[in-house]
């Protein structure tokens, strides 16, 4: 497994407990993996890391078989799950739900059929369905970003915020961010949705730049958006006036942090490789017999020039 900062919340992930593994290893275990299609940078990263983890595990363990399905919308994902259950005879399911509510029922049916269920990133609407939950820390993502702003702007300042697609994830991040900067003298001039999209963020930032004569920093809250924002700032020739904090851990951004780029002083991780963590942990249950059930939350680590090299993956498309 990749070495990276993680915190283990209430999970009993002990080192391999030697169970009589012979019986387990004789017949093939089929693990279904259902993830959203690569519709933007981050999900592209999810696809890459899922494929990579599957290839690696299939090579390493003969008795593991994987079924990978990508879905462009929630409805397609429900069909994928039904097909996996009906025709592919899966023993375990790793699912990154497209949306929480529509997927809760279908995932519960998989669970009721006696399968091991791992849910990644987006929690289900009903508690206690999944055996294992692997996710990033969304409030932590906003909080760490907020703490960084406070540290960089001890005397306060004027900032603008670009939000993602209106979702629970986005709300949690923004609320935690606002709580973190409370009372610091940092004033949020404006907040608009850039939909985690480079083009949208470019246009929103152009308009922020026309609207506000003084901006000290931008919380772009996503690396794709940060790239659009930086381009808009460059067009207005106001690079020296402000810096930008993105998020997620896109390789181009991590590289810029590592190069001490003054416009990109840091980044906050929300690694798409969490899908690999989930697949590996699920596989571990079948190859080692270790206890896996529980919750596994990955830290939203702050990447700075000092530690950037640890989080740089040149081969990833994200």
């Amino acid at each position: 497994m990749k070495k990276r900062a993680m915190s283990l919340v209430g999970a009993a992930l002990a080192a391999a407990i030697a169970l009589p593994g012979a019986a387990l290893s004789q017949e093939t275990t089929i693990i279904g993996v259902s993830i959203p299609a690569a519709t933007h940078g981050w999900t592209g990263g999810v696809n890459f890391h899922a494929q990579e983890a599957i290839d690696r595990l299939e090579q390493e363990y003969e008795n593991l078989d994987f079924v990978l399905a990508t879905a462009g919308d929630a409805g397609k994902q429900v069909s994928d799950l039904e097909d996996m259950l009906a025709t592919r005879n899966i023993d375990a399911l790793v699912v990154l739900p497209f949306e929480s509510d529509p997927l809760t029922g279908p995932v519960k049916r998989v669970k009721d059929a006696g399968k091991f269920v791992t849910v990644v990133d987006r929690g289900l609407a009903q508690e206690g369905i999944e055996d294992l939950y692997v996710a990033g820390d969304n409030p932590g993502f906003g909080r760490n970003a907020g703490e960084f702003f406070k540290e960089k702007m001890p005397d306060g300042g004027k900032i603008v915020v670009l939000r993602g697609i209106p979702t629970v994830i986005d709300n949690q991040r923004v609320e935690a961010f606002q709580t973190a900067i409370e009372g610091s003298g940092i004033e949020i001039l404006g907040m608009e949705h850039g939909n985690w999209n480079r083009d949208d963020a470019f246009e929103v930032m152009q308009d922020f730049l026309s609207r506000f004569p003084e901006i000290n920093a931008v919380w772009a809250s996503d690396d794709d958006m940060a790239l659009g924002v930086i381009e808009a700032i460059r067009q207005a020739n106001r690079q020296d006036e402000m810096w930008v904090l993105g998020g997620a851990g896109m390789k181009q951004m991590i590289e810029r942090v590592g190069d001490n780029d003054t416009m990109v002083p840091a980044d906050v991780l929300y690694p798409p490789s969490m899908i690999a963590t989930a697949i590996e942990l699920t596989a571990l249950k079948y190859v080692s017999g270790a206890a896996i059930e529980g919750r596994y939350i990955l830290n939203s680590t702050l990447v700075t020039p000092e530690n950037a090299s640890q989080y740089y993956y040149p081969d990833s498309p994200f």
Partner: protein, 333 residues
């Protein structure tokens, strides 16, 4: 030819045309007044340049879409096609850098590739519609999925980025300009004027309208219906290529989210501008006004705190419908 088909309705049509003419312009003027009233920077050089330059991509595509719709067709694939062309352009340019060095030859080769791919993609759409006789909606729905998947595949699910040095050479195509007018605005204006002339003053434009109002009558009038239809898709493909040439230097990247929903924005702009969705009547300058209306709505919402950002989509929807009501409402009463 079109005159023959519509002679009985001529008096009624003249009334309708009057309202058609003023509807989109009135909406545009109202929006400009609203923007100027809400924010002092609205009419600044910087903001006007931003709005016009970002309208250019959809605008260039929408001019071509006007011809397709006027001739009774539809093209849902243009957004995906733009993404695919952007992807191919970037790959071609990155691939040529070691051969030619990072300079204008590489950029020109990329532009050539964009026009070629646009032409071929448009021809595929057009041939499937005219030769295979499949409805335009279905053909272009299919190619929309194909182009989108191809760019995702080319980018390996991530983002294709243009070589950094080439990008610096190419950058002025979006950010530079002629006498202070940004290039995308110049190109959009030139294409809109040419489009208007072709629609009004040439046999091709009149043939499009004739085919759109009644393709059987047009056929009996010795118009090469299939050829004209095919050409509308080919021209649209080339225009998508031109739009992509202006788009790529902006952010220097292409991914599966590039050009998302451009097709709907282009179609909306065409209809707001007074072109009839069923075909038979098209107006290029109206399309240009429609594109500006759509960009202004976004811009004004970003420049103010009037409404919750959650409601931006609703405001856009209301204004689009109002703009069309303005030009058609009174004829119903």
């Amino acid at each position: 030819m079109s005159a023959e088909a519509s002679t009985p309705a001529a008096p009624a049509r003249r009334m309708r045309i009057d309202l058609h003419v003023w509807g989109p312009l009135v909406a545009l003027v109202l929006l400009i007044l609203l923007g100027a009233f809400l924010n002092a920077n609205f009419l600044s050089y910087g903001n006007v340049t931003n709005v016009l330059a970002r309208s250019a991509f959809i605008g260039i595509i929408a001019v071509g879409m006007t011809f397709v719709i006027t001739a009774g067709g539809l093209d849902l694939s243009v957004g995906s096609m733009a993404a695919f062309i952007a992807g191919v352009m970037i790959i071609v340019m990155n691939w040529l850098v070691p051969e030619l060095g990072a300079g204008w030859p590489v950029v020109l080769a990329g532009m050539g590739a964009a026009l070629l791919v646009g032409l071929v993609a448009g021809a595929v759409n057009g041939l499937l519609v005219t030769r295979a006789g499949i409805e335009a909606f279905i053909v272009t729905l299919g190619t929309m999925g194909i182009f989108r998947s191809l760019v995702t595949w080319l980018a390996d699910g991530g983002t294709l980025s243009l070589n950094f040095e080439v990008r610096e050479v190419y950058r002025p195509v979006y950010y530079g300009g002629l006498f202070g007018v940004a290039w995308p605005i110049v190109v959009f204006a030139v294409i809109a004027v040419i489009g208007e002339i072709v629609m009004r003053r040439t046999a091709f434009g009149r043939h499009c309208a004739a085919i759109g109002s009644n393709d059987q009558v047009a056929r009996y009038s010795a118009i090469h219906v299939d050829t004209v239809r095919l050409l509308t898709y080919v021209f649209l493909g080339i225009l998508v290529g031109i739009a992509t040439i202006m788009y790529v230097p902006r952010l220097g990247s292409a991914s599966s989210t590039t050009g998302l929903l451009w097709e709907l924005e282009a179609i909306a702009a065409v209809i707001i501008g007074g072109t009839v969705l069923k075909g038979g009547f098209g107006r290029v300058w109206g399309t240009a006004v429609g594109v500006l209306i759509l960009s202004l709505i976004d811009n004004i919402l970003n420049l103010t705190d009037l409404v919750s950002p959650y409601l931006n989509g609703a405001i856009q929807g209301v204004i689009i419908i109002l703009a069309v009501v303005l030009q058609r409402g009174r004829k119903a009463g």
